[in-house]
């Protein structure tokens, strides 16, 4: 998997799409696999729990579909696209560390059925997300 690395060392795979809320999207046969980025998991610290939606739940873009608990906070997960949940990573609540260790792989969270293809156009490609997080790091 081709990937770029931000100045601060965060992994940003090129073949994924991103949101300003730090979710990533991988398009696979009409479904969108959704997870949180390397940058996001690093900001949260040790993740202890992931609260998942149920298969069949539908979300509008930007709606909260779950939460991630870390030792220091709880973060909301926002749907990157409109769609129905067709699959959840049911292992995740018991193996929450996968979000820290393999955020783009075993740490995936849900699969959404894409209902509005046009929304994909509005997500960040890797290069833009890289710029976005570099700016965020500089602010601090």
């Amino acid at each position: 998997m081709a990937a770029e690395t931000s100045e601060a060392g965060f992994n940003v795979p090129q073949d994924l799409l991103y949101t300003k809320n730090h979710e990533w999207v991988r398009v696979e046969d009409g479904t969108a696999v959704v997870g949180i980025t390397d940058y996001a998991q690093n900001q949260l610290g040790d993740i202890t729990y992931v609260e998942l939606p149920e298969e069949g739940d539908s979300f509008k873009r930007e709606a909260v579909f779950g939460t991630v608990d870390s030792l220091k906070t709880v973060a909301e997960l926002y749907a990157p696209l409109d769609g129905e949940v067709v699959e959840i990573n049911a292992d995740l609540p018991n193996n929450a560390e996968n979000v820290n260790e393999k955020p783009y792989d075993d740490g995936w969270v849900i699969k959404l059925e894409i209902s509005n293809e046009a929304q994909l156009e509005e997500l960040f490609p890797a290069a833009e997300y890289l710029k976005f997080i570099s700016k965020l790091s500089k602010k601090k």
Partner: protein
């Protein structure tokens, strides 16, 4: 000495920063007629001697009754001297959970032990560090059940046999979803189970019951348990007198999902409505939806047993507006009195105390029946309703003239209950006092 930490210069800077000219501008959103316009009408400073006299005079306006049979949510019990002695130790009475709570291991251990006893008493898996009182605990339980049910919009069934003050608090909590509430009517002095059976369907999310209920009656939990067993309904229970668990099974044994109780009758006085604390228990699977603080036991770096606040990410000081509850403290000092009282009694002591309360109450019921009074056959614990010919208020007026209280007039809640006198009997009442009460009621009934 005035303690005002900011200088005038500091204040000017603060006001500048928010773009206000005068401090009054910060209170503009409060209508002017609600704001205090002049100085508060306080008397001038008094000497210690005068101050003591003033308060003694105020105290004399409402003397403690010589004897009381009032319950209905607050229960007077013998408080062993060890309770106020230990509770009053400075380590407890001055300590607030510090911002690094683990520095107060003793405080956390008390909370952990309270949680353990609360679970044993209610037969539940998980308890928080206590809430404010029994009524707000029930309100919090409903909010918690709604969180578990997420987007479901099903009905909330509430028993009408719940103490009316509790119902008022619950209705305040439920103000924004009142249309989901459906009351289950009474059948005599308890919840109408056949009505419950009729309305229980898959459109119901939550069932709320109280036992002993406002009439002191122990509800038929085995039957309710069998009704909800196969359903997806979350069953929430309330108890005003947790000492009753010394004789009855805890609601957890019947499959209740959230169990709440008023803790006052363990360790706390009954003056002016008691000093209260809420008992709040649930099942492990709902831990992430629990309101309030939670203490866990763990090992420190050197492998020693230690205690820690846990699952704090649910709480307001971390999670702000999305916290599980706006309660991020607990009623520690009152809870501590309860913990000490329960520890001193022990499992057997709690049972013996409960037996005393129960059998003295049954003794009084029998005496009253012998005197041709009408007393329900429904099972009760340490409180029951006497049906009176004259309004119950008549008896209360008569007893208060002699500086004692013969019970609670349920007519204060509902006109249709005005011939119901609720009488509470505890270990504090002697046989003579119970016979005197019977005589008094007989004399006043003529």
């Amino acid at each position: 000495m005035k303690y005002i930490p900011q200088s005038n210069e500091d204040r000017r800077e603060l006001l500048n920063a928010v773009g206000a000219k005068h401090i009054d501008e910060l209170f503009q959103h409060i209508p002017s007629e609600l704001r205090v316009q002049s100085n508060l009408n306080y008397p001038l400073a008094q000497s210690e001697q005068d101050l003591r006299k003033t308060f003694q005079e105020i105290g004399a306006l409402s003397p403690s009754p010589k004897r009381s049979f009032a319950g209905c949510g607050i229960y007077q019990h013998e408080i062993p001297s060890v309770v106020p002695f230990l509770q009053g130790r400075s380590e407890f009475s001055t300590a607030y959970t510090p911002f690094q709570p683990e520095i107060s291991q003793g405080l956390l251990q008390c909370i952990y032990e309270f949680q353990t006893l609360a679970c044993q008493l209610t037969e539940m898996e998980l308890s928080n560090a206590s809430l404010y009182d029994g009524a707000t605990s029930l309100g919090e339980a409903i909010l918690m059940a709604l969180r578990i049910k997420k987007r479901s919009k099903g009905k909330i069934l509430i028993s009408q046999a719940i103490q009316p003050f509790y119902l008022q608090v619950v209705q305040t909590y439920c103000k924004n979803f009142q249309d989901r509430i459906q009351f289950i009517p009474l059948s005599g002095d308890h919840l109408d189970i056949s009505q419950l059976k009729q309305v229980l369907n898959d459109q119901v999310d939550i069932l709320v019951t109280q036992s002993p209920n406002v009439f002191g009656v122990i509800e038929n939990y085995p039957e309710i348990a069998s009704l909800i067993k196969e359903s997806k309904v979350l069953w929430l229970t309330s108890t005003m007198e947790p000492l009753s668990f010394g004789l009855t099974k805890g609601p957890g044994a019947y499959g209740a999902h959230i169990v709440t109780a008023e803790g006052q009758s363990f360790g706390n006085s009954a003056y002016l409505g008691g000093s209260t604390y809420g008992i709040f228990c649930t099942k492990d699977e709902f831990i992430r939806n629990l309101p309030g603080r939670l203490v866990g036991q763990t090992l420190d770096q050197r492998g020693r047993r230690s205690y820690t606040l846990t699952f704090a990410t649910r709480e307001q000081f971390i999670r702000r507006g999305r916290a599980t509850s706006n309660i991020c403290t607990n009623n520690n000092l009152n809870m501590l009195a309860g913990l000490i009282h329960m520890s001193v009694l022990g499992k057997r002591g709690i049972r013996e105390l409960a037996e005393q309360n129960f059998s003295k109450t049954e003794f009084l019921k029998d005496e009253l029946r012998k005197s041709d009074f009408q007393v329900s056959d429904s099972p009760t614990f340490n409180e029951f309703v006497l049906e009176t010919k004259q309004p119950a208020s008549h008896f209360l007026n008569a007893s208060s003239k002699e500086s004692w209280v013969c019970g609670v007039d349920l007519g204060r809640f509902k006109e249709e209950w005005k011939h119901k006198l609720l009488i509470h009997v505890s270990e504090l009442h002697s046989k003579e006092e119970l016979l005197q009460l019977t005589q008094f009621l007989r004399a006043q009934s003529k």
